[in-house]
Structure formats: structure tokens, C-alpha cells
């Protein structure tokens, strides 16, 4: 009997995409994960256990070793800089990180302010542009910030651009393309090398 493999997954859309991908790679998963309030899902046939976490926390579970592997957006990887292996670009849930603001506005000369859910990424991006900005960390509905005058710019994920448009914002600079990545804990990557390598090559075939 092989050891159980624990996979940390974000809830929601990425989970559905990832499950589809795993099915395509011939993993025997049940047709439906019915009870969607459960945080731990066991798949006995494959000896796999899924733990369902907030997207931002997936890399944390994997780094700490309570999950062997995980599926995390590149945005999380850039923001959190966790000590984990980034093994595979799963190419699911594509979107990108960009700066946005009200049309025809500039960063303030006196105290430029940027609101974001990603303070680390935002700060690195503006530093690289040679701008010293103040970062304001928000946890959601980032679009509000320029609308009510909290910040001139926001740094956020854009997938269709619909949310920006509906709130009268325009995109300024694109920062990075984002897709979901397969990540692994450095110790699990060695100790459970066989299972993880097998999973990686099966997934690589269907991407």
C-alpha cells in the first residue's frame, strides 16, 4: 500500500478545473464531491486526501508540510514567496495581475498610494518602476479604493476586465500572467518522490 498523498486545493473555480484535469489524467475521482462544506475529502481508491483551503493559504499548508502538494495560483506564489517546489504550470484558471485606476489619472506626486490584496507584489512592482508608493492592504473589493479616493491605483487580478469596467476603472500596466501551479513541499518531494513524480508526469501529459 502506498502512502497517502495530501493535496491542498483552493475552494471554488480552481478546484473544479483541477479536478477535471486530474480526471483527464485518469485519476479515479468520484463523479461528484457532493458535500461542499467539508474541508477534507478522502478519495480511498487513489489513496489521496484533498484539503480545501483559502487560495492564499494553500502555499502555507504545503510549506509547513501538512499537505504534500498543492495547487496554487502564481499570484499566491509571487505574494507569499514560500519555500516550496513549483513543479508544473497547470495552465488552468488563466488571468493576469495588473494595475488599474480611474481613467486619465496619475499617481499623486506627494504621497502616491496603491491599494491591493497583494502588498508584496505591488510594492515590488512599483519599486522596479522607480516609484516609491505607500501600499494599503485590502482584503477584497479592491475596486472601491480609487472610486472613493483611498488610492490612485490598485493592483489586482484581472480575468475578463468586466469588474473594472462596471466600476468605471481602466487598466494601466500589466504585471504578470497568472495560471495555477502544482507545488510540492521540499521534504515530501523527496520522501514521496515516486508518487509525486508519477502525478507530475501524468498531469504533464494532459495539460
Amino acid at each position: 500500500m502506498t502512502e497517502c498523498l495530501t493535496i491542498a486545493m483552493p475552494k471554488g473555480r480552481i478546484f473544479d478545473d483541477a479536478v477535471e484535469l486530474l480526471r483527464a489524467a485518469h485519476f479515479q475521482l468520484p463523479p461528484e464531491f457532493d458535500d461542499n462544506r467539508k474541508l477534507i475529502l478522502e478519495v480511498k481508491e487513489e489513496n489521496i486526501r484533498f484539503i480545501l483551503a483559502k487560495p492564499m493559504d494553500v502555499a502555507t499548508y504545503v510549506e509547513q508540510g501538512v499537505a504534500d502538494i498543492g495547487i496554487a495560483g502564481k499570484d499566491v506564489m509571487l505574494e507569499e514567496e514560500r519555500d516550496v517546489y513549483e513543479l508544473l504550470d497547470l495552465k488552468i484558471s488563466p488571468c493576469y495581475l495588473a494595475t488599474a485606476g480611474l481613467p486619465g489619472t496619475k499617481l499623486s506626486d506627494i504621497a502616491p498610494r496603491v491599494a491591493s490584496k497583494y502588498p508584496n507584489i505591488a510594492s515590488t512592482f512599483y519599486r522596479e518602476q522607480g516609484e516609491q508608493v505607500e501600499i494599503i492592504k485590502l482584503n477584497g473589493s479592491i475596486e472601491l479604493a480609487p472610486m472613493i479616493g483611498l488610492a490612485e491605483r490598485i493592483v489586482d487580478i484581472v480575468s475578463t476586465g468586466q469588474t473594472l469596467k462596471e466600476n468605471g476603472l481602466v487598466e494601466y500596466e500589466k504585471i504578470a500572467d497568472i495560471t495555477s501551479r502544482l507545488i510540492a513541499n521540499p521534504v515530501s518531494y523527496r520522501i514521496k518522490e515516486k508518487r509525486i513524480s508519477e502525478l507530475v508526469s501524468r498531469l504533464a501529459e494532459v495539460i
Binding site: 510549506e63 508540510g65 501538512v66 519555500d83 513543479l87 508544473l88 521540499p186 521534504v187 523527496r190
Partner: protein, 392 residues
């Protein structure tokens, strides 16, 4: 800032309570005995060093150093590792006497932690340094001693991944012919970002065979079969020498009979930037980070003004204890409870028992308010109590 509560400690600092201390001491003792039996001599160095010397030489990130100023205004650091201080002592004093030099240590090192909990800022490392030995036998000895040290500590399930920094360097420079591109590749490998590495390599628009060669690095994991792949990819002198060293090491690990614990991963790069050759990391299944690492560092002593090759390893005690699992509480302390009429007898009984090797607590019964509760923590209790006194 809120006022500190009296129970608070600085971030990352931990107390070692008696149960853990006992377990730690036992494991440490066994490990140091084993290391000693291989002829390594213990050494101690100060906790404070100059930032300009040891601080700069150690491979720990600047922001992870605890810094302070001495009375002359010089910057000091709390030692972030033991390898750099030992290199300092060896280069300035010991090497003049005898080469090669085998030293070992058990000491606390300090690294400021920036993230949330789960990472101590002060932790004990046990390790060895073998200085002045440039042969592969030195590397093999490090790994073999690492295996037997872990075994005597009681750990049986662990895995050592071995790589070679020199090989990676040769492969990258050989394939890319550009130091800045090689640097970028190293950075991706160091960050364990294989996706980034692959994307970067394909963005360089290299000839097909060169690209294949760079990508094959990620596949060089396993046992001796990796040498074959490695040889087809790199065939310059320095690259061949690196592979030759690994082959030699593999033979020697069989001679030590420790090959079952070892596998190769030629893409391995350590956070310790001073490594120059063979390097390794140790993993135990239940712990999320490596429990130790080591390797060859042939240029570090040079920073202290003495050219000498060296190799060694360090194990993180906390992680090792975590890998060992549950600690059984052991309490073989005997209690002698006395009342003042029999104090003299109690003292001489205790002395006798201590001389025969027992641990004995001598407790005046008048000093205990709840005798029932107190004696529960001992397996054996001897009462030398005057009963009349008691009933009075």
C-alpha cells in the same frame, strides 16, 4: 505599542521545559558520543561575532542576522551558523598545528524570523566540520557519519539527497556561455521554481540540443543512472571531474554501507552560498523542512586568510526531535520525605542512594502543603517521618 505581558518572549524564542530538555539531552549525548568515536573534537565559539568577519562570511541573509553594537560602535552579530565561526578559529589558530582537522559542535545559532510562527529564531545545531581534506573520502565520511549519528539518535526513516554545485555551475556555463544567464537559471533552481526555470530556458531561444541539456538537469534525480545522463550532457573537464567525484562518492557510500539512505538530485542548490562541491540535505518524512544539511566549502576559510578545503554537516536539533516523535516522560526520581526528627537519617540515606547513581529529592514534609498531590509525581517515595509528630 501595547504593553508587554509578563509572560511574553521575543518572537521566535522558545523555552525548553523539563520534559523536552530531558529528551534533548539524551539524544544529544548519544549523538555526540558517536561523533566523538569518529575522532572529532568538540569546540565552542562565542555567541557574538563581528558583523564584518563572521557575519559577512556566513551565508545567512542580512535581514536574518541579529545585530547589535559594542561599546566602540562596531557591529556585532549573534552567530547565525557555526560553520563560519569554526572556519575563523581554524584559519587563525588550529590549522597551524594539524591538517586535516576534525571538529564538532553542539551550539545554539540565531536567525531572525520574519514570518509567522513555527520557525524558531534560536535553535540548536549539532554538526561536524572536517577541514583540510580535499578528497572525496572527506565527503563520504561526512555522509556516513551523518547516517550513523541519526541512527544512534533513534531515527531510522530518513533520506539524504546529494547534489554537486560544481556540476550545476559547469552545466549552466557550458550550455549558456553567459554568466548572467547562468545566474538567472541558478536563481530559479534555488527558488525551487521549476516552472520559471523551464519558461526562462525556452525564452532564450537556444538551439534544440542546448535547451534539452538545460532541461535535463531537472530530471537528474535517482541513483547511479543519473551519472550516465549527466555524462551525455556535460563533457568538459570540470564537468567530468564533478561527475567523477559523485561516482567515487557512490562507491565509497557502499563501502560504508549507507547507500540505502542516499539518492542523487543534481539540481539541488542549497541556501548556503558558500558550498563549492558535493552537497546534501537530509529529510525525515514527518517534518516539513530538511532536518539538516551539509557539503563541501573549499573557499570559506580563504575569507579568514587561510586556503583550505573543508566539508561538514549540521543537524537542527528541534526538527530532529520532531522527527523522532512522541517523547515519553521519564521520571525515575526517588523522593525521600522527612520530618525534622529524622532529617539526619534522611540526609545520609539520600547521600548513599545518590552515590549509587539514583536521583533523589529530599523534601521536608513541613514544606509541602498537599502531600498527596506532591508524591504523585514520583514513582517511589520513602517516608522518614516521625508518626507521632504527624498525628499531633
Amino acid at each position: 505599542m501595547t504593553k508587554l505581558f509578563m509572560f511574553e518572549k521575543p518572537i521566535g524564542m522558545r523555552d525548553t521545559l523539563p520534559i523536552l530538555y530531558g529528551a534533548k539531552m539524551k539524544v544529544r549525548h548519544r549523538m555526540l558520543q558517536e561523533i566523538k568515536s569518529w575522532g572529532y573534537q568538540m569546540i565552542e565559539t562565542p555567541a557574538l561575532e563581528y558583523y564584518e568577519t563572521v557575519g559577512e562570511a556566513s551565508a545567512i541573509l542580512n535581514q536574518q542576522l541579529f545585530k547589535l553594537l559594542d561599546q566602540q560602535g562596531r557591529s556585532l552579530v549573534l552567530r547565525p551558523d557555526m560553520t563560519a565561526p569554526i572556519a575563523r578559529v581554524a584559519a587563525s589558530k588550529l590549522l597551524k598545528k594539524r591538517i586535516p582537522l576534525r571538529l564538532s559542535y553542539s551550539a545554539n545559532v540565531y536567525r531572525a524570523q520574519q514570518r509567522e510562527g513555527g520557525r524558531p529564531a534560536e535553535f540548536e545545531q549539532i554538526g561536524i566540520e572536517c577541514i583540510g581534506n580535499s578528497t572525496v573520502s572527506g565527503d563520504a565520511e561526512s555522509i556516513a557519519l551523518l547516517v550513523s549519528t541519526l541512527k544512534v539518535a533513534g531515527l531510522h526513516q530518513f533520506k539524504i539527497s546529494v547534489g554537486h554545485v560544481g556540476f550545476i555551475q559547469e552545466l549552466l556555463v557550458y550550455a549558456l556561455k553567459s554568466e548572467s544567464e547562468a545566474e538567472q537559471c541558478r536563481k530559479f533552481l534555488f527558488e525551487k521554481n521549476y516552472v520559471g526555470y523551464r519558461n526562462y530556458v525556452s525564452s532564450l531561444k537556444l538551439p534544440y540540443d542546448v535547451e534539452e541539456c538545460l532541461l535535463s538537469l531537472l530530471k537528474m534525480r535517482g541513483l547511479e543512472e543519473v551519472f550516465q545522463i549527466a555524462k551525455t550532457v556535460v563533457n568538459n573537464e570540470a564537468g567530468k571531474k564533478a561527475i567523477g567525484e559523485l561516482e567515487d562518492l557512490w562507491v565509497q557510500l557502499h563501502e560504508y554501507d549507507v547507500q540505502d539512505y542516499v539518492s542523487f538530485d543534481l539540481s539541488l542548490i542549497s541556501h548556503m552560498s558558500y558550498y563549492t562541491g558535493i552537497l546534501f540535505e537530509v529529510y525525515a518524512g514527518s517534518v516539513g523542512s530538511p532536518i539538516g544539511n551539509g557539503g563541501r566549502y573549499d573557499n570559506l576559510l580563504n575569507q579568514f586568510g587561510y586556503q583550505a578545503p573543508a566539508t561538514g554537516f549540521g543537524l537542527v536539533m528541534d526538527r530532529l526531535l520532531e522527527a523522532l516523535g512522541e517523547i515519553e516522560e521519564e521520571n525515575d526520581v526517588i523522593c525521600i520525605m522527612f520530618s525534622k526528627e529524622q532529617r539526619k537519617e534522611a540526609i545520609s540515606l539520600a547521600k548513599e542512594m545518590r552515590e549509587s547513581g539514583e536521583a533523589v529529592v529530599l523534601q521536608d514534609i513541613d514544606g509541602v502543603s498537599d502531600v498527596q498531590a506532591y508524591v504523585k509525581s514520583f514513582t517511589t517515595v520513602n517516608y522518614l517521618v516521625n508518626v507521632q509528630e504527624e498525628s499531633k
